[in-house]
């Protein structure tokens, strides 16, 4: 049975066409994946369906009845629920209060908390979405927040659930749990659409895939009848190959961590971290998020000095541990969160490019910014790294994730760093952009830089690293050569079982 039908939806923003003549349908109990690169028009399409935007042309029908355009309330009443990528929850309210918000008339004198609690408990049990109704949202993990969002939609009697990039903020384990839940919901008669640009989750979780590119539906496949490769090509429009790592010859030790400890700065603490990064190699640090990656990246990037232990640069303890000295010593830094840390949205592109090297005589003299030189350097980066949509004087806020990352890579690589700290360098990027980032990282390694790759993406670490260490509870496992690693062994290491890794490292040392 058709529960949802979009017909010939067209939406333009000024000169940009976000959706053109898009039609798709959803059957009862079905999970479809809306696959497309960033900017392909997935989110716009779903916003039209949900009534956030009004389409220029086309209709939306839910169970045969046409939805009035531009009315989210009507969509909710018709049984459409939406789980946004950025949660719309009030952190100071409890789960129950968040779920109830907006469901009761303002004119009612009493709110029926007992009834709401019962309904929430029922939903929770029915779909296996465990969450404490009295917990404050601010105390919940990201995965739990998402569960609350889903429960909120279900509480509004949603029969059609739309999830916008639901796994973008989740760890691999949480994502697996989510997809199991989605399966169960579909089996119980709900119909689901999830938006994604990750091929493996589309392959594992959907019944049918609709591929969007440039605002149009370019293909529709039953999931069992397609493959990752085909989908990748459909999505990007050409065959995309992630670059291959060729074995290298590591040189001298550039960076060494000796029993580094650091408490609580911006994440989990480090409790004795040891590693050695050689010239011309990539050392991959894999781990489930929240095990100290952020703190390690911050420490190596110069944001905070260690509480204990030492960070040795070419065998020496640096005189000062701060950002300018780290950069001056040849450390290039790719931040984990490119929008919050890597760029200042309301400053010009050129300012973002030179801010971290503003003390460099190239970009300032006697306290005066050398605007000409700064702008020229920016122009070169935009050209050499093919940063689309960027202008030297324009605000950087408008760049897409992939182009923002190109610009950040550009500013870092321009200085020819000997050490590159890349924290989650391809998080949230689409296939084409990931391939580009990987290429640059391999290029830097090929030129003799040591790359410290901190990532939660197993495929990425396996593809780029020469050696791998797992980070668990603020400690690093022994390093194993990537040739000896497979998903199962890395899984063990990430879970804290280092016995095999120790043997391998021991054997390797001999």
């Amino acid at each position: 049975m058709r529960v949802l039908e979009l017909q010939s939806i067209t939406k333009r923003f000024g000169a940009v066409t976000a959706n053109e003549d898009v039609s798709l349908h959803l059957d009862k109990g079905e999970i479809i994946a809306l696959l497309g690169e960033n900017g392909a028009g997935k989110t716009t399409l779903m916003s039209i369906l949900f009534g956030h935007y009004t389409a220029d042309a086309g209709t939306v029908r839910v169970e045969g009845a046409e939805l009035p355009p531009g009315k989210p309330r009507a969509a909710i009443r018709a049984g459409v629920g939406m789980v946004h990528q950025h949660f719309a929850l009030a952190p100071n309210l409890t789960v129950l209060e968040n779920v109830m918000t907006g469901t009761e008339s303002l004119w009612k004198l009493r709110s029926d908390r007992a009834g709401a609690r019962r309904k929430l408990a029922d939903l929770s049990a029915k779909f296996g979405l465990k969450v404490d109704p009295d917990a404050r949202v601010s105390e919940l993990s990201v995965g739990e927040c998402q569960r609350v969002e889903i429960l909120k939609a279900l509480y509004n009697d949603a029969r059609i659930l739309i999830l916008d990039e639901p796994t973008a903020v989740l760890t691999a384990q949480e994502a697996e749990g989510l997809f199991a839940t989605l399966r169960e919901m579909a089996a119980k008669g709900l119909s689901l659409i999830f938006i994604s640009h990750k091929l493996h989750e589309v392959m594992s979780a959907s019944d049918r895939v609709v591929v969007l590119r440039g605002g149009r539906v370019v293909a529709e496949r039953r999931t069992p009848e397609t493959s990752k490769e085909e989908l990748a090509e459909l999505m990007v429009g050409r065959a995309v190959q992630r670059p291959e790592r060729v074995p290298g010859r590591p040189g001298a030790v550039l960076l060494e961590g000796v029993d580094l400890t650091l408490g609580g700065k911006g994440g989990a603490s480090l409790k004795g971290v040891n590693f050695r990064l050689h010239a011309g190699e990539t050392l991959g640090i894999i781990g489930v998020s929240g095990n100290g990656q952020t703190t390690l990246a911050g420490l190596v990037s110069g944001l905070y000095p260690p509480d204990g232990g030492a960070l040795l640069l070419r065998g020496h303890r640096p005189a000062r541990h701060d950002v300018p000295h780290a950069i001056a010593a040849g450390i290039g830094r790719i931040p984990e969160d490119r929008n919050a840390e890597g760029a200042i949205g309301d400053m010009a592109t050129w300012e973002n490019v030179v801010l971290e090297r503003i003390w460099d005589p190239e970009f300032s003299s006697r306290g005066i910014v050398r605007r000409g030189a700064a702008k020229q350097a920016t122009q070169e980066i935009i050209r050499d790294h093919d940063v689309r949509g960027a202008s030297v004087d324009g605000r950087i806020r408008l760049l897409s994730g992939g182009n923002m990352q190109k610009l950040i890579l550009g500013r870092v690589l321009r200085a020819g760093p000997e050490i590159l700290v890349a924290a989650q360098p391809s998080r949230g990027l689409d296939e084409g952009a990931i391939a580009g980032v990987h290429e640059r990282l391999l290029e830097a390694r090929g030129k003799g830089a040591g790359v410290l790759l901190i990532s939660e993406d197993l495929d990425e670490v396996m593809a780029l690293s020469d050696r791998v260490q797992a980070i668990v509870g603020g400690k690093l496992s022994p390093a194993i050569p990537v040739e000896a690693a497979d998903a199962r062994l890395l899984g063990l290491m990430m879970a804290g079982d280092w016995s095999v890794a120790k043997e391998i490292e021991g054997a390797d040392a001999v």
Binding site: G302, E341, G342, A343, I344, V369
Partner: protein
């Protein structure tokens, strides 16, 4: 109806915003004038005439604009770095008091005029700085909101001034009126026009505006302070020393407000009373907003404010409309400016 973010607000629009805001404020205030029983056009005509129509009016307008430029700058530089200095009024008074106290040192009267003026101005500026460094230290150390601390310090400052001019610094020759001992004659600012109150402080204020503009637009410090204000996390990732940058910003902001007080003493009054400022520190906040935090825009916004206040006096004598209409208009212009700023960032859709 909904709002959509504009991706590239055009320069024209950004420049138009304050003009539109002022016009809208004048329209609303015009309605109030009409309700009070006068012709709004006539009233505005009289305001302009009062502010520019005579040698005295013109000089008074510029005299009035002088401290407003400086307090406006003080607010603008701080707000740019998201340092919410609401304490301009207190810094103004403490700056003024510091000058008066410095002038009481016997040796000052013997200095050459240029040196005496320079040292007095420096004393005022340093006093203003210190007034803002307190709230900033509390913010950096304990996370105390500087909006509250700097605002409340205004009252402390004014009462402290009151205590000093009734006590230790009281002028014995003032027939019992509470005022400070006047600064020596060699420290007074030279007049710009004969037989008016217009003084060289105006040049200092305009010079300060240009200097601040240059600092913000062209220097490493300006770039860093803007970065620290817009996104502290990214700024510190890029190696901007947040604490040190904010301290410098606070010195600049407090210093400018203190300078305003010092100049008012050296240029206009010669001594300190508790009615030295008709709210210059607070008006500075409005002026900074009206100028969209642009230092050069501050000059224009301060002029607008001064015209309203000076003109409204003579207008109110002619039409018997309360001169409070000037306060109302300037306050309205802040509200309309906030709307106008919003509209430069967003467009309205159906």
């Amino acid at each position: 109806m909904r709002f959509e973010r504009r991706d590239h607000p055009s320069t024209g629009l950004v420049l138009l915003a304050p003009v539109g805001a002022v016009l809208a404020a004048l329209v609303v205030a015009g309605l109030l004038i009409a309700i009070a029983g006068a012709n709004a056009f006539e009233a505005y005509g009289l305001i302009l005439k009062g502010a520019f129509g005579s040698r005295l009016g013109f000089s008074e307008t510029l005299t009035r604009a002088t401290p407003l430029i400086l307090t406006g700058l003080a607010a603008a530089v701080a707000f740019r770095a998201k340092l919410w200095n609401i304490g301009g009024e207190g810094q103004f008074y403490i700056g003024a008091l510091a000058v008066a106290a410095f002038g009481m040192i016997p040796a000052v009267a013997g200095l050459p005029p240029v040196l005496a003026v320079a040292l007095c101005l420096l004393a005022g500026a340093v006093a203003g700085m210190l007034m803002l460094l307190g709230p900033l230290a509390l913010r950096l150390k304990f996370g105390v909101d500087e909006v509250v601390t700097s605002l409340l310090l205004n009252f402390v400052a004014v009462l402290f001034v009151s205590m000093m001019i009734e006590g230790a610094m009281k002028d014995p020759l003032a027939f019992g009126w509470p005022s400070s001992v006047p600064v020596p004659g060699n420290a007074e600012l030279p007049k710009l026009m004969e037989r008016t109150r217009l003084h060289a402080g105006l040049l200092i204020a305009v010079g300060a505006a240009v200097a601040v503009w240059l600092v913000q637009a062209r220097t490493v410090f300006g770039m860093r302070s803007r970065a620290a204000g817009l996104n502290p996390r990214a700024a510190s990732f890029a190696g901007v020393p947040l604490g040190r940058t904010l301290v410098s910003v606070a010195c600049l902001s407090g210093g400018l407000a203190g300078l305003a007080g010092a100049i008012e003493v050296l240029g206009v009054k010669g001594y300190v009373t508790t009615d030295l400022s008709p709210g210059y520190g607070y008006s500075g906040i409005i002026i900074a907003m009206l100028a969209n935090l642009n230092p050069l825009g501050v000059i224009a916004a301060a002029l607008f404010s001064a015209v309203m206040f000076v003109g409204a006096d003579s207008m109110s004598r002619a039409l018997s409309i309360p001169s409070y209409i000037a306060d109302v208009t300037v306050a309205l212009s802040l509200l309309t400016m906030l709307v106008a700023l919003f509209l430069t960032q967003y467009r309205i859709r159906r």
